[in-house]
């Protein structure tokens, strides 16, 4: 007898028990396997390309080169520099030249090995500053000085501030090229039919932008592309809009059969789009009492050979930290530079965490110079509730001062001057946004559809994406609290551009506040409509409370309510649709505006012990205090903080793509070291919970602000322990050892 199983409504149990079906587990009848022929050179002209032998391999269904695909202007941002396959020039090691689809992996490998190609190598550039030189080789035709974007920000009287400064600290800081470390490698299953168009099963947490980008690449109407997002096995910024999705689509369009491509770890790392490496020349000046007077910053960003999300990262790097401290006069210049490296992109923290590594380091150097407690120096200069920051951020709530106090309290900050030898305590602060108005200049916000299905279950549909951060359980809790029904019975659905409402996607820490506000509005509307329906059916005395309609001593469930509605609406489901449009201001050409509904803050303290003989840092303790407004789901919120701290520890102490002349030298998890449980201390977490007027239930974001202060806090702890300042990430054992030798 067939018995249907009652399964948990949220995704957590399936993940824990290994029942989640990821892209790897999905297959379609008649499916082909795909593979990519990539450039072995960082910069070269293709002088000959012959795929005839590859096409003749038994089992090969298609081999595509630039001749077989459209060449339209497209790309995920306003910089449209993508192609589907390289036409006459390759720009980085891994650049796609040809793709193969075949019946078997073996046939793909054989065909790839039979592709004949000759190159004329061109001079290549790997250092962003080299790319700006007048005599540098041109990477993209017509882009002056290889610089697609130049940021200039000026506020206040810099000359006067410099004259008034009593103390100045400066330095050159480097944040490095790191891998997002997604456990599930990049992959896609593409299927084309003339009737349906293109369907992609692909892990993207901004699927609507991906749809728009891919449609443009093939000259298709947007609604001829549908993206279905399977459960995402980790992203941290790596899974936005990806070339592999496009080349698989091309293969499926050519063969008329589904094509699946999944990178193995090595190919995923060799062709990875890492965190944008940023170099900072930074100077901060202060008065004798510690009041900041100015901050001057020049940033060089390594975009790699094409534009993914590096422009947005650079703009963030040039501005965001000015909304934590009142620096006085501000000058920032940002150079986004093309190089012949694999294109770089976003990662959790998005330009803010990197800049804070530099800013928080310099602030500790100022404190040292002034003889001040670094926590006091910070407290003196932070932004406050009710202020509008120098770049226009309106701080309806800001409890950064309370975060500092609490972090001092729980970390035992007063121990700082009495620590044993080789120990250090470091503090760093952070802010972030909860969505960012400039992600899509056309619109912002989110839509939620809420329905009571025929069985009386409550379903929520959203355009935002669950990527393991807990969006679904958060939305369920918001709806449960408003409607008075158990959250376990609420199903949250998302991740299909052909089925669910439009969404900007999960980036810029926007899912809780943007999507959550939409869910809150839909829940309130549903509450109102159920009450109206109850009154219609049972008269004025009927009342909807605790998830049921009460009338004349009887209680009616959602299933009853569903039936009442259908009886009155030609069998249609009971459904409401609500859109949240945030009251934000698009930043102007000078980067002034109020881009987010609200702003989270954090103060972190790290304690380390540095082995003076080896330079190796051991984490002793970690304390994280967050102002993210109301915490909706404390377990998932703490998970975000612990995960971010672990990720930050890896970034600061060990993680590094070692690249020489464009070649990744450590493309394996054995050679690219990430931390394990032994490297993570207990993370003590506290939340300062003042509801924010613009957040759903008072919530602000948490996902990225939890990582932002980690590099600065650990770097400051290491400097405190050793008396030496590390300026280049990672602060690996060997690097710290070298510092101690000098």
């Amino acid at each position: 007898m067939i018995q249907t199983q009652k399964k948990s409504k949220n995704d957590l149990a399936a993940k824990v028990t290994g029942n989640t079906r990821y892209l790897h587990d999905m297959n379609l009848p008649g499916q082909l396997v795909g593979g990519t022929f990539r450039s072995p050179y960082p910069h070269a002209r293709i002088t000959r390309l012959d795929v005839s032998k590859a096409r003749a391999v038994k089992g090969v269904a298609a081999v595509l080169t630039a001749e077989d695909v459209p060449h339209l202007e497209f790309g995920p941002t306003k910089y449209k520099d993508w192609n589907i396959l390289a036409k006459d020039k390759v720009l980085f090691i891994g650049d796609e030249i040809a793709v193969v689809a075949a019946e078997t992996r073996e046939a793909v490998d054989k065909a790839l090995s039979l592709i004949e190609v000759e190159f004329e190598q061109l001079p290549a550039i790997f250092d962003p500053e080299d790319s700006l030189q007048e005599d540098a080789v041109e990477i993209h035709p017509g882009v002056e000085r290889n610089r697609p974007m130049h940021v200039l920000v000026n506020r206040g009287d810099m000359d006067q501030a410099k004259q008034e400064a009593h103390i100045v600290r400066s330095g050159r800081y480097h944040s490095n090229r790191i891998y997002q470390g997604h456990m599930e490698p990049v992959g896609v299953l593409a299927s084309w039919s003339d009737e349906e168009g293109l369907t992609l099963w692909a892990a993207s947490h901004i699927p609507y932008r991906a749809r728009e980008t891919y449609a443009a690449g093939f000259g298709l109407p947007e609604d001829k592309v549908r993206i279905i997002v399977p459960p995402i096995g980790g992203s941290f910024g790596s899974k936005y809009v990806l070339k592999l999705h496009v080349t698989s689509a091309a293969l499926s369009m050519k063969t008329g059969r589904p094509v699946k491509m999944i990178l193995d770890r090595s190919e995923d790392m060799l062709t990875a789009h890492p965190r944008v490496p940023l170099t900072y020349d930074i100077e901060i000046g202060a008065a004798a009492d510690g009041t900041f007077l100015y901050k001057e910053l020049t940033v060089y960003g390594d975009a790699g050979a094409r534009i993914y999300w590096s422009p947005n990262v650079l703009a963030t790097a040039c501005t965001r930290t000015d909304c934590i401290y009142n620096f006085g006069a501000i000058k920032a210049e940002g150079h986004l530079c093309y190089t012949n490296s694999s294109p770089t992109t976003c990662m959790r923290g998005f330009g803010n965490a990197e800049t804070l590594f530099a800013v928080e380091s310099v602030i500790d150097e100022l404190a040292l110079g002034l003889g001040m407690d670094p926590a006091d120096l910070r407290m003196k200069n932070i932004v406050k509730q009710g202020e509008t920051t120098v770049h226009g951020y309106k701080l309806d709530t800001c409890n950064l001062d309370l975060c500092i106090d609490k972090a001092k309290e729980i970390s035992g900050w007063e121990r700082r001057n009495e620590l044993p030898a080789n120990r250090g305590l470091g503090m760093a602060l952070a802010n972030h946004v909860s969505g960012f108005r400039a992600i899509d200049p056309r619109f912002d916000g989110s839509t939620a559809i809420m329905r009571i299905n025929l069985d009386g279950e409550l379903e929520i549909e959203t355009g935002e994406i669950e990527l393991g951060q807990g969006m679904s359980v958060t939305y369920a809790r918001i709806a449960a609290q408003i409607l008075g029904i158990p959250e376990g019975g609420i199903i949250v659905k998302s991740g299909d551009t052909g089925r669910y409402p439009f969404g900007i996607g999960t980036l810029a820490s926007r899912s809780t506040v943007m999507g959550g506000n939409a869910v809150m509005k839909a829940s309130q509307e549903m509450q109102r409509q159920i009450q109206a329906l109850a009154t219609q059916v049972h008269g004025e005395g009927a009342e909807f409370r605790d998830g049921q309609v009460h009338s004349d001593g009887k209680a009616f469930t959602l299933k009853d309510i569903s039936a009442w509605y259908r009886a009155r609406h030609a069998g249609e489901e009971f459904k409401v649709k609500e859109t949240y449009v945030p009251d934000t201001e698009m930043p102007d050409a000078t980067y002034f505006g109020n881009p987010s509904p609200n702003y989270p803050f954090a103060a972190h303290v790290a304690e380390v012990e540095v082995d003076p003989d080896t330079g190796r840092t051991r984490m002793i303790g970690y304390w994280a205090v967050h102002d993210s407004g109301t915490i909706i789901h404390e377990t998932m919120a703490k998970g975000q903080v612990i995960g971010a701290v672990a990720q930050g520890i890896g970034w600061v102490l060990m993680e590094d793509f070692q690249v020489e002349e464009g070649v990744v030298r450590n493309p394996s998890m054995m050679d690219y070291r990430m931390p394990g449980a032994h490297d993570i201390p207990h993370v003590d977490i506290a939340f300062i919970q003042e509801p924010d007027p613009n957040g759903p239930m008072g919530a602000k974001s948490l996902g990225e602000v939890a990582l932002d202060p980690v590099p600065g806090a650990i770097a400051n702890a290491i400097a405190h322990a050793t008396g030496k300042r590390g300026t280049r990430l990672p602060l690996s054992a060997e690097r710290v050892w070298n510092m101690l030798q000098s």
Binding site: S266, D613, T614, P675, G676, D679, S732, A733, E734
Partner: protein, 281 residues
């Protein structure tokens, strides 16, 4: 392709002559990351020695502690007989993760001849003997004559490792294995060191040490230099000895560390290990 699973050494030797297979035990070196290894291991047939019971024995004999070639890392750290040779137990406990430890064999670790091998280092310090069997008979080689270079050994094409013997003078003697790595769990050594020392009163009768991951083969000192351990041990002497080991190392620069750093760490860890063994802290 044949996958051969002999039940005895005799059967293994017979099939080796017949099939010329590649010997494999846990496969944790040969089969993990197979894509990058398959070019190096050009084998048509495989001889899996995991089920040869005589190769899975840990025995205390008159000559010393005998470890069968197929003895796994987890067997080593769990067997009471290793109380006599704790430096190997420490190395076995840190090599790979649990899954690797349940499969990786001592014979495989020696035959693989990776410069970064962990379990090889205490064996090198103890001057362990590698016992080999071939179609034409058996022979024994000191480990320093067996491991010739990175992935190079004295193993003849028709030979297999049957056991590893730790000489009895190194049993029940103070000793330690230490390694320097990048993180707290599964990792590859930047530098590893084993020190075994016999003292009476404040006099050191003898000490033996080996350094791993800092040279093509484990570093041991020539007899006359090693003899310098003898006598009273103080900080000066520790410095001199650890400098000797550093000077005898010839490390490479790779993704894990530079040669300069590795050499400095040889000094640090030799001194640390010796200090700990001798209770100098």
């Amino acid at each position: 392709m044949a996958w051969l699973k002999p039940k005895s050494v005799d059967e293994a030797l017979k099939w080796m002559e017949e099939y010329r297979p590649k010997i494999v035990c846990g496969g944790t070196d040969l089969f993990v990351d197979w894509h990058s290894r398959k070019g190096l291991v050009n084998a048509e047939h495989w001889l899996d020695i995991q089920e040869i019971s005589e190769l899975k024995q840990i025995q205390m004999t008159e000559e010393g502690l005998s470890l069968g070639a197929a003895v796994t890392a987890s067997q080593i750290w769990q067997d009471d007989k290793l109380d006599a040779f704790p430096s190997l137990r420490q190395a076995a406990r840190i090599v790979g993760g649990w899954q690797v430890q349940n499969r990786a064999s001592i014979g495989g670790n020696v035959a693989n001849a990776s410069p970064a091998a962990d379990m090889v280092v205490p064996l090198a310090a103890a001057r362990a003997v590698i016992r080999l069997s071939g179609v034409n008979g058996s022979r024994s080689l000191p480990i320093s004559d067996f491991i010739l270079g990175p992935r190079q050994t004295a193993l003849a094409p028709d030979e297999m490792i049957t056991s590893v013997l730790v000489p009895k003078e190194c049993l029940h003697v103070p000793q330690i294995f230490m390694r320097h790595d990048q993180r707290g769990a599964t990792d590859i050594s930047i530098v590893s060191v084993a020190v075994i020392a016999k003292s009476s009163g404040d006099q050191l009768e003898w000490a033996r040490a080996a350094v791993g991951a800092a040279n093509a083969v484990p570093v041991i000192l020539p007899e006359e230099q090693e003899a310098l351990w003898q006598g009273v041990m103080d900080e000066d002497k520790l410095t001199r000895m650890s400098e000797l080991y550093a000077a005898s190392s010839n490390p490479i620069s790779d993704v894990r560390a530079s040669a300069e750093y590795r050499r400095a760490m040889v000094k640090v860890f030799t001194a640390r290990a010796a200090r700990q063994v001798l209770g100098l802290n």
